[in-house]
Symmetry: D2
Subunit: 337 residues, 4 copies
Amino acid sequence: MRVGVLTGGRDCPGLNAVVRAVVRKGVQHYGDEFVGFVDGWRGPLDGETVPLDIPAVRGTLPRGGTILGTSRTHPLDHPEGVRRIRENLAKHEVEALITIGGRDTLGTAARLADEYGLPIVGVPKTIDNDLSGTDCTIGYDTAVGVATGAIDRLHTTAESHKRVLVVEVMGGDTGWIALRSGLAGGANVILIPEQPFDVEQVCAWVTSRFRASYAPIVVVADGAYPKDGSMRLGPGSGVRLSGVGEWLAREIEHRSGKEARTTVLGHLQRGGSPSPFDRWLATRFGLHAIDAVHEQDFGTMVALRGTDVVRVPIAEATARVKRVDPKLYEEVGVFFG
Amino acid sequence: MRVGVLTGGRDCPGLNAVVRAVVRKGVQHYGDEFVGFVDGWRGPLDGETVPLDIPAVRGTLPRGGTILGTSRTHPLDHPEGVRRIRENLAKHEVEALITIGGRDTLGTAARLADEYGLPIVGVPKTIDNDLSGTDCTIGYDTAVGVATGAIDRLHTTAESHKRVLVVEVMGGDTGWIALRSGLAGGANVILIPEQPFDVEQVCAWVTSRFRASYAPIVVVADGAYPKDGSMRLGPGSGVRLSGVGEWLAREIEHRSGKEARTTVLGHLQRGGSPSPFDRWLATRFGLHAIDAVHEQDFGTMVALRGTDVVRVPIAEATARVKRVDPKLYEEVGVFFG
Amino acid sequence: MRVGVLTGGRDCPGLNAVVRAVVRKGVQHYGDEFVGFVDGWRGPLDGETVPLDIPAVRGTLPRGGTILGTSRTHPLDHPEGVRRIRENLAKHEVEALITIGGRDTLGTAARLADEYGLPIVGVPKTIDNDLSGTDCTIGYDTAVGVATGAIDRLHTTAESHKRVLVVEVMGGDTGWIALRSGLAGGANVILIPEQPFDVEQVCAWVTSRFRASYAPIVVVADGAYPKDGSMRLGPGSGVRLSGVGEWLAREIEHRSGKEARTTVLGHLQRGGSPSPFDRWLATRFGLHAIDAVHEQDFGTMVALRGTDVVRVPIAEATARVKRVDPKLYEEVGVFFG
Amino acid sequence: MRVGVLTGGRDCPGLNAVVRAVVRKGVQHYGDEFVGFVDGWRGPLDGETVPLDIPAVRGTLPRGGTILGTSRTHPLDHPEGVRRIRENLAKHEVEALITIGGRDTLGTAARLADEYGLPIVGVPKTIDNDLSGTDCTIGYDTAVGVATGAIDRLHTTAESHKRVLVVEVMGGDTGWIALRSGLAGGANVILIPEQPFDVEQVCAWVTSRFRASYAPIVVVADGAYPKDGSMRLGPGSGVRLSGVGEWLAREIEHRSGKEARTTVLGHLQRGGSPSPFDRWLATRFGLHAIDAVHEQDFGTMVALRGTDVVRVPIAEATARVKRVDPKLYEEVGVFFG
């Protein structure tokens, strides 16, 4: 078979490991040939490809990023998008398309498969871990590792200076990175978008921590926000702060009288070598994705359930955001303050 | 309530994280008091304890090892073992005993709970990941991380010298560490106890790797062995080799004419700071274990199922070794050679 | 002898390692007793101390931060500062004061020793590496390690998205962290305060890198600035950017038409476990500092010269900032673009 | 100019970083062309080469090992060795040969330059750090980092089990790796070849450590040995132990009655990505080596002196082994026991 592969959306660790596993099993086990579409959906839209064979994927398992490139192009925004993709798949004699992406990229994949009948198999990746239908996504474990390592480092500075350190981590609409890295890093407060916070409560936790003669670490997801709508960010606001982390540090200083500093981890969370867990998961996802292709099981996405890799409809996985359950958030609340 | 805690068997990363979570939730949420029994089953056997409260667990989340100490004492081997444990629990007014251990320690726990009615809740830990009833055990992810990091390092030496590098990892009767670290590290051969190997086949893989102008890494679990019974180790044998890793390197040199070297990772795999995943898992296990105590759900063990923490009978979890499924081993075989 | 110890200025990795070495050798070899002054110069100013003996320093070698606390208090700004320090030293019967600090803290130490005759021995620490008289300072190697690790991570994101990534590192008035981490991380442009930059030249390097089909990493010291005075930061400016990193990314986007993103490493560079090199250097500095105390060699600072630890006048070491030599900057320029 | 490059002896981290710096500056600054000789001295001996230009070195800065391959071939053992090297240099029109190696490889280089007039510039690499004339060699800092990381991990196991852990590190005839990693890792005993040890003294330190309620870590260089000649290793001995680490653990168990375990780090110390310090040093060495070539300063080796890169005669650097000074060993002795 001739199989196309693309990686879409923001880059994350483990993409190359998926591509390598797909190609290794496809070539060696099934005798497939591959076409690498570049820069996410831009590749099949513009018909731009790179050679994709065993030499091309050698040595890529531990490498972050994606050798195929990525972009946030939305082919369904193009009036001719579907037609052009169809033509380019035909031109390259591609019989199936493995699409590695997050909510956006796979949301498009679901429509292309279900509404337009394109032969697509999906693989879920995103450091945010916000895709339904799978226990976790590729990249999440690595991102948590980076964030936890950062929190570990910041503890000593907080203690030495008796300061509040606010760490802003990624997560989009969800608090998965904040929750796990905050717990693993021994944070004293963890704030997530699923649970708008009360600044007074945050200050109470901070103060109680200082009373115990320790300095607090506050982990805040970049999508978290206060209950009372008091936060104003960006050009429209008076204060012009770049994110919730800085806003919160300023509020804490103001209300508690304690010095507070912010660290924004940003892109560090999505770069670099994937963790062993992500390499394992990405490889297994790749092996199962090429199997799904050969079983013509299109419109499905590979997913982790317990220790098994299963398949779920892409549409189902992308229909709703997987959010942090209030019960789980409450469970970790015992460590606050 | 007054609750005892012990850690038994070989040490592994994440033990302190369990103890900390148990104590934090017990004290803050339930108003419990704790008794730390030292050195595994030796503690309740000899009535030896250490104070266990919130100050005692502070700062222990990222620390490997166990602040309670551990040992491989078997109380059921003592004629008076059960009586002495009962007396010591009574003497310290302990109403429940949280037992953190692997197959051995929890096997004893199951009998003490089921046959003798002791109020025990179990928590599964072992770098070997060989306990049934849970998707994984505490310590496994960290051990895989150490092994994968080592394999990453050894690739460059293999390449530079055109040598075979054999890496012997832990695992006891099972190949879980070998399988995941070998896959994550991009090993060219992975050998596990569940699947006795054929030395000629190993040499064929090694040779094929060299033909592709690359140098091979062979990951072998310390419990793996050749099909044909040709391996002789230790004092009784003529060759006096310390383990399968060295034996295999010698065989490969002999049969393939290629230079081979062995690295035995040993204790490195069980020491040091737990990975973020293990800190998370250990913490959740601890929080659920103290809940089980308060629900008087004795004879059970906390376990991971997908993303949930559930409870299973300890006896069930320890009744049989969780081995690597032949299908899973076959799945990764596409990367051999 | 009774010896006081303080750590001043911003925290950095390796402070505890110095204190531990001082105390271990002092107690075991010389039979000394120690007084720990808390929070830098605030300790001797206010007479606030903590017990400092072998149990107090146990296990602190690999720990970042400082068990003594630190602050940026300037005792010479207090009209009664010198008198109060003298009184508090006398009150605690302290015969010598080991002062671990950077330019500020040691600058004060130099004046207290030279002008007021206080019995002080200095130990140079600062991640910025800007103290004269020593090949390097404690904390610098660790900070470079954190920054290099971050740059390593960011390469894959830059490649995958064909973006410019600007990394802002610390360094104060000097470019030592930028220079070494930029070189070690394979940055394509390195900008330092010693050499005001030309934005057009930076854009030319960026563009040339893209022409070679790679994405550029720009490392910029937080004290770097453009030649032409065009940079405006902070409240007074129209643009309200928080630092040179963000300003530069915006300029690059504007002028080159390429997407650019900024990562500000901030406090990550000063926290966490010291590198092996810093633990070694800190330990040797500590051992030599207590020797200097016993030789009554006051007013001196321990320093690294090649592989030897020597002593230099504190005044000399703090008289002028150690800057990056233009020749050294030119040497690494071959990698730009 | 046409310049040859080879890497000889055992592989170590930083070799690629040297080669990359040589090629980048050679091509961009001097307009040179390069010839890569493969597998150490075997390359010029057999006339085997690989293309070496800017694309060949791209991305190699953080990669361990050597893209040129290495071997321990001794050309002076071949009767026709010198003639063949001369012919092959002539055949490839090579006007200078940059030789990156340790004592062996550079010892040969010194003779070829001084006795036979070959146009050679040397670069010192070895994890053992045993070359004279330079403050340190490439690879040493990385090896110390690996060993220190391992010691950090083993502390928790030692504590949890109340065991002695013996860590055998590399170093050949010298104790540089043992000394620095032992100090940085907080070892309780450090044994080096320069100072034959007294087993009774080692047991006394071990016992004293247990009395303080802590478990000891003993770091032993693979070349260390007991004073009294009691150690027998290998085939000829009765005990058939593989190294000093295992021998010592057995002796400690025997004499002190304490459980002891050995970890042999082996090849882990020479593989993997170079530390930031080694990348910096290797790069600077490479830049200076190509300068030396263009100044026709043959027979010299680049060397670190303080913060400067200087040149010394290769013959001088290889004439005698750089050993650990007894004074330095005594200095760290304060931490033993």
